[in-house]
């Protein structure tokens, strides 16, 4: 059926909807990376010495890594060498003073977030669900909503910079405790130059009454975004957190190297969902974001649970492995992932489940969709430590190929040191079947709607893990990202 590949291709070519640039004055430092840059960023944020020291240690280690080997090479992604001296490490919209309330946020910024579909007004969304938002624009947080309502429950939700000032004890205690500054090349870079991000702390026994979310936006040209997120759920606490991201369309690649650390104490539960829609570059692979991210959660307490759900449709290159350290006995780690690569996009993504405590359990469900010349790899490690008696893991990795120029690869790694454990792995690779497509069309659905329905069905087990209203967003995003892959 000769026309099919061309047909499928049409659906995958998309118009990127968030590619506009906001015209706003910004306060930038010149491109380049040296100790001065790090001191400069720290000074801009008025940071205490301990914070600067953390950055400097990281910077020194990063400089060594840069000399030794530069970027990691083991992932199945291919990109020209990044010149770390060409990047602007700090860019912030100019503001007069510290904002006292949302009313003082630059209207141009409010309009930007409106256009992105993110409401910074403290009202319920149409669905009736309240969502607290921390909006990060280039290097700084520009607004955080519902803060006082959350404070009444003892919940802290604010920008990372503010947390350094207001809650230094919590930051000192937990920063770098899950992802040490020297963990890997990009985490190390982030630790030196991170600019802003979100911090949340849910106190003992508190169930967070609304979704917390951070919306990341890269706006300025030539900048890198290096945000840092830290969430701590104290004993018996629970929280659901979502992050979203977009960037303007530009011909040059931009680097996004974030670090996310999660800590769950006894009986605590953290659900972390990502809808990643950074600019993927154009059809020919020009431009787009390099999304090199380190995300890790520590289930420190007994019976604690961390669940990662990600829908990755954007970025020119994605390199990320949200992981769980299952330290507490009976703790649970979950990873649900949908990754879509179209045109020239590349993704090397997966997870690490490190079973340390007894009777720890983990589930991995990964759905990869490749269209165009998209290439993606699932890379997952399941490690069962010596003391992790009764550990159980179930992994399922399914790949769906649209057309015959794309590729999917699966790299499962198993390291089992305790034989009283159960590890199961299943993997499938399939193409969209002509039978399914024709069945839908014979019922009156257009080819695009048919493919989008089949793809959404393929991802169902993951999409149903997303908070209700974001599930709808994610479904639409998948359809849009597929647009044009059918000729």
């Amino acid at each position: 059926m000769a026309s099919d590949n061309a047909d499928l291709q049409r659906i995958a070519d998309q118009e990127y909807q968030y590619g506009f640039v906001t015209d706003i004055d910004s306060d930038q430092i010149p491109p380049g990376l040296n100790e001065e840059t790090v001191r400069h960023i720290s000074a801009k944020k008025n940071e205490p010495d301990w914070m600067l020291d953390f950055r400097l240690k990281a910077f020194r280690r990063f400089s060594e890594m840069l000399e030794e080997q530069a970027d990691p090479t083991w992932a199945m992604v291919d990109y020209p060498k990044i010149n770390y001296q060409d990047i602007i490490y700090y860019s912030a919209p100019k503001t007069e003073a510290v904002l006292e309330s949302l009313d003082e946020v630059d209207p141009e910024l409010l309009r930007t977030y409106d256009k992105l579909g993110i409401s910074l007004a403290e009202q319920k969304r149409l669905s009736g669900v309240k969502v607290a938002v921390d909006a990060v624009f280039d290097s700084v947080s520009v607004a955080t909503t519902f803060k006082s309502e959350l404070e009444s429950k003892g919940i802290i939700f604010c920008s990372f910079s503010e947390a350094v000032q207001e809650h230094p004890d919590l930051i000192k205690k937990y920063l770098g405790s899950v992802v040490p500054y020297s963990d890997n090349f990009f985490a190390c870079l982030n630790s030196a130059v991170f600019s802003d991000g979100s911090f949340a702390y849910i106190p003992k026994g508190v169930k967070c009454p609304m979704e917390l979310s951070t919306y990341f936006r890269i706006n300025s040209a030539g900048t890198g975004q290096f945000e840092r997120t830290l969430l701590v759920a104290d004993e018996g606490a629970s929280v659901s957190y979502l992050e979203g991201c977009t960037a303007p369309m530009r011909d040059e690649n931009q680097l996004h190297a974030a670090v996310v650390e999660l800590v769950a104490l006894d009986d605590a539960e953290i659900k972390y969902s990502t809808v990643q829609n950074w600019y993927p570059g154009d059809k020919n692979g020009v431009g787009g974001i390099y999304n090199f991210v380190t995300k890790r959660g520590a289930c420190r307490g007994r019976r604690s649970k961390i669940s990662w759900t990600q829908v990755e449709t954007g970025s020119a290159i994605t390199w990320k492995y949200p992981s769980c350290l299952l330290q507490g006995d009976e703790s649970i780690g979950e990873f649900y992932s949908v990754a879509m690569t179209n045109n020239r996009q590349q993704a090397d993504t997966g997870t690490k489940m490190i079973h340390i405590g007894k009777n720890t359990r983990s589930t991995i469900i990964s759905k990869g969709i490749s269209a165009g010349q998209g290439q993606q790899s699932y890379r997952g490690l399941v490690k069962v430590g010596r003391k992790a008696e009764g550990a159980r893991n179930y992994s399922q990795c399914d790949s769906l190929l649209l057309g015959d120029q794309c590729g999917a690869h699966t790299f499962p790694y198993l390291e089992i040191e305790n034989q009283a454990s159960t590890v199961e792995h299943e993997a499938t690779t399939s193409k969209i079947s002509e039978d399914q497509l024709f069945y839908c069309q014979q019922r009156g659905l257009s080819e695009e709607d048919s493919i989008s329905m089949i793809v959404n069905g393929f991802c169902k087990e993951v999409l149903r893990e997303l908070p209700m209203e974001f599930a709808v967003e994610a479904q639409n995003l998948l359809s849009v990202s597929l647009e044009g892959s059918v000729g």
Binding site: S3, Y439, Q442, R443, G444, N456, G457, F458, K460
Partner: protein
């Protein structure tokens, strides 16, 4: 309603249909019988516009329009419905979600308003009763893990919902026990009226006891080799397909 003239079609460069002529008027029910491999499913796929089935000669007109020019989804929206011999399974997509999307695609093509979830529920409940389909099949993924009989009921349910002008049933009776056969046939008969036409493809005469056709055609080697009234089906059953092949 449907006019097929000297239709030739091939699959993978192999000629399967070799000059089919068939005229189905409004309100008529025609049956096509024929041995395995004679081209029955090929004919239904060609009518529905499946990719890979290449028409190499002849014409098909549907309500005066050139059917072969239309994309498959347009044919469906115009009122051609194919009840599949082997309905596809679509994991993760619930039956009710699919049927609602399908019904609304057809309705908006007809210039009717789209149905919301409540309206759809009401209509689908009623039709489900007609084919004695259990409620839980609606919330399950399309055809996934359905028994053979459930799949066929699901096809007839869709037909009842979409109210097509031209129903093509491809061996909807195969693999059904006698009770399921009755249910399916009753569903089909409920749709019979003076404007709706049907093409019932079957290997066995059994179905035609329930759905009595106006005409029976015998397909062999990609050609219609004999046409008669409903009694032709009985004659075939008695004498077997060898009789037709021997006499042509």
């Amino acid at each position: 309603m449907l006019e097929i003239k000297n239709l030739f079609a091939q699959v993978d460069d192999k000629e399967i249909l070799s000059g089919i002529d068939l005229n189905i008027g409004a309100g008529e029910v025609h049956a096509i019988m024929g041995p395995n491999g004679s081209g029955k499913s090929t004919l239904s796929n060609v009518l529905a516009g499946r990719a890979g089935y290449e028409v190499t000669g002849g014409s098909v007109t549907f309500e005066g329009k050139n059917l072969l020019d239309m994309d498959p989804e347009i044919r469906a929206r115009e009122g051609i419905f194919l009840a599949f011999q082997y309905p596809a399974e679509i994991p993760g997509v619930s039956n009710d979600y699919f049927l609602k999307a399908s019904l609304n695609a057809v309705r908006s093509h007809r210039g009717e308003s789209e149905l919301d979830a409540m309206d759809f529920l009401e209509i689908s409940r009623e039709k489900m009763k007609q084919v004695e389909m259990p409620d839980d099949l609606m919330s399950r993924a399309i055809n996934e893990g359905f028994s053979g009989g459930e799949k066929k009921r699901n096809e007839v349910l869709q037909m009842l919902l979409l109210e097509p002008k031209m129903c093509v049933l491809d061996e909807t009776d195969s693999g059904l026990d006698i009770d399921a056969l009755r249910v399916v046939a009753e569903g089909v008969n409920a749709l019979r009226n003076e404007s709706r036409s049907m093409l019932v493809i079957t290997h066995y005469q059994r179905l035609l006891e329930y759905i009595v056709p106006d005409k029976v055609h015998v397909l062999s080697g990609g050609r219609i080799v004999r046409t008669g009234g409903s009694e032709l089906a009985l004659e075939l059953e008695e004498k077997g397909y060898g009789w037709i092949e021997a006499s042509t």
